[in-house]
């Protein structure tokens, strides 16, 4: 656990125990009021008539009921506040731990290209490089700097996503239309242009979405399909609805999950199911962004291996809730 939240937790637990002790003392004190009163009267030598004694018992019983009710109410209030505070501390701890992991991952990712670019340039500077290798060293140093540039851009985007949840303009759009337009825009990317994309759009599907984010999702998924899709360039994109959700599925014909946990693909700096595999350009943040954008749309994203009988490959499935009213009218229209 992180030090800050732990200290807060201990302080809060101490205050809670103190409150609980005060409430317990308060209940005990009031429940003994009739005994104390009777004791005092006996010490004063006062004699009560049976009617007076009954009236006193009734009065203390009424008070007891009131104290029991108030005690229970305060106890409940205390329990509720414990739950709320613990939940908030838990969230704070999770956030701090995620930020710490992210920082450590970024540090590693930044230092690697800096280290290799520095070593290439140092070797060139010291004249230790054979003439036939000079061009390659320069090209590799440039690739390292480009990787560094991409990483810095993506770090800034991640920082924006983590500090304020992404500033999205969520408006009602037809997901099928957004995907169609998004694919057209993304195809200007030379890598994506080589893919044979098959579209299956079953709209209209009204969702509250940010068009630019949907395009980012498509760009990242198609870029991954290009990098990890293996020999086949075929990619299937299907859009439809299932229950109260609209779905966008992107499937390549590559090697699929290769035995990896599909949830791990959405963690930062995981590439092709294996951490830090550097035979492909990329930072390992693409699917992490897709998952963060899905959350910002109140949706979710999962990955699974497509059945081998239908050609295999990896299928990424983004679900967004259908806009109010649309889900009801679409009952029965299951894809």
């Amino acid at each position: 656990m992180v030090r800050g939240p732990r200290r807060k937790l201990y302080t809060y637990m101490a205050v809670t125990v103190l409150y609980a002790l005060v409430i317990a003392w308060w209940i005990v004190f009031f429940s003994r009021q009739d005994e104390i009163l009777l004791g005092r009267m006996q010490r004063l030598g006062a004699e009560l008539t049976p009617a007076q004694s009954r009236a006193l018992t009734e009065a203390t019983d009424d008070s007891m009921r009131m104290f029991a009710f108030e005690g229970a109410f305060l106890g409940l209030l205390l329990a509720a506040s414990v739950v709320l505070v613990l939940r908030s501390l838990h969230r704070e701890i999770a956030l701090q731990s995620s930020q710490k992991n992210m920082l450590s991952a970024f540090t590693h990712e930044l230092k690697s290209p800096i280290a290799s670019a520095k070593l290439y340039l140092e070797s060139l500077h010291q004249g230790r490089v054979e003439p036939d290798k000079r061009e390659r060293y320069l090209a590799h140093a440039r690739e390292d700097l480009e990787r560094l540039h991409r990483l810095v851009d993506e770090m800034l985007l991640t920082a924006r996503m983590q500090s304020v949840s992404p500033q999205l303009t969520l408006e009602e759009h037809d997901l099928a239309h957004l995907v169609e337009r998004g694919v057209q825009n993304v195809q200007s990317d030379p890598a994506v242009a080589t893919l044979a994309i098959q579209l299956d759009l079953r709209g209209p599907l009204p969702v509250r979405a940010d068009p630019r984010s949907i395009e980012t999702v498509l760009r990242n998924l198609l870029s991954n399909a290009h990098k990890y899709g293996g020999a086949s360039s075929r990619v299937d994109i299907s859009v439809g609805c299932l229950g109260r959700d609209a779905f966008l599925k992107v499937r390549d014909r590559g090697p699929g999950l290769r035995g990896q946990d599909p949830r791990a693909l959405f963690e930062p700096f995981v590439r092709g199911g294996e951490k830090l595999v550097s035979d492909q350009p990329g930072s390992g943040l693409g699917l992490y962004f897709v998952s963060e954008l899905a959350k910002a749309h109140r949706g979710r994203v999962t990955a699974r291996e497509a059945p081998a009988a239908s050609g295999g490959g990896l299928e990424v499935d983004l679900r967004l809730p259908l806009a109010d009213g649309a889900a009801a009218t679409r009952e029965g229209d299951r894809a």
Binding site: A115, R128, K133
Partner: protein, 231 residues
């Protein structure tokens, strides 16, 4: 000395290439591999003289590779090369039996110097001791070749570091050997954050060698300077 075998375990292809080329230019025979399990296989089969080991590796990470090798009693020298340069990581790597630690990004010259220093220490450890391979301290016999201390019929295994410390002291019997000199010869000049580490090793050695570790007869502390061995 050239021709010594170095294994570079690094999953970043660019770093592996440039490190390999530069070490090959120094005259070493260099091989690379990109994951922890393959590194274990290479160490077992190729028997390198030094392993340059990245910490964050796919499959088995560098710390796990080091721990696995030490558990197999494989004392091949290990130089960690990693982007994780925090003191905790350095200490962990060295505690697991690593010999030195170099944080990325590093200077080529420093890398080459550290490689040379580790190989020099290894050669020193493997070279015959001037006074023979055995050191007799009362009824206790230290064997520098088998890393064992025998005493009254029982023998105890010494770690390579313990053996090296004893050797550094035994090479100059009766003379004071400073803590920093021991640190330099046994670990390399800046491998550990504090020279107090040696004091802990000395405490362990006294327990094995001395009749009364509180009043040592053979390994004496010279206050503020270092240690002296009087056989």
């Amino acid at each position: 000395m050239s021709g010594e075998k170095l294994l570079v375990v690094e999953d970043e292809a660019h770093i592996a290439e440039v490190v390999c080329d530069n070490l090959a230019l120094e005259g070493y025979e260099v091989r690379t591999c990109a994951d922890g399990n393959e590194a274990l296989e290479q160490v077992r089969q190729w028997r390198p003289d030094l392993v340059l080991l990245d910490v964050m590796l796919p499959g088995l990470d560098g710390f796990a590779v080091c721990a696995r090798l030490r558990a197999e009693q494989d004392q091949v020298p290990i130089l960690f090369l990693t982007a994780r340069g925090a003191p905790d990581d350095r200490v962990r790597g060295l505690e697991l039996g690593g010999d030195d630690f170099l944080a990325k990004p590093f200077e080529l010259r420093e890398l080459v110097l550290r490689v040379r220093a580790i190989l020099k220490r290894t050669r020193w450890m493997q070279s015959p001791h001037p006074a023979g391979d055995r050191l007799k301290l009362g009824d206790c016999v230290v064997d520098f070749k088998t890393f064992q201390v025998s005493r009254q019929g029982t023998s105890t295994e010494l770690s390579p570091k313990e053996t090296l410390i004893l050797r550094a002291l035994a090479e100059r019997p009766g003379e004071v050997v400073s803590r920093s000199e021991i640190l330099d010869r046994v670990w390399g000049y800046d491998a550990f954050p504090t020279t107090r580490t040696i004091d802990n090793f000395i405490v362990r050695l006294r327990r094995m060698i001395e009749d009364d570790p509180q009043n040592p007869r053979y390994i004496h502390t010279v206050r503020g300077t270092g240690y002296r061995l009087t056989p």
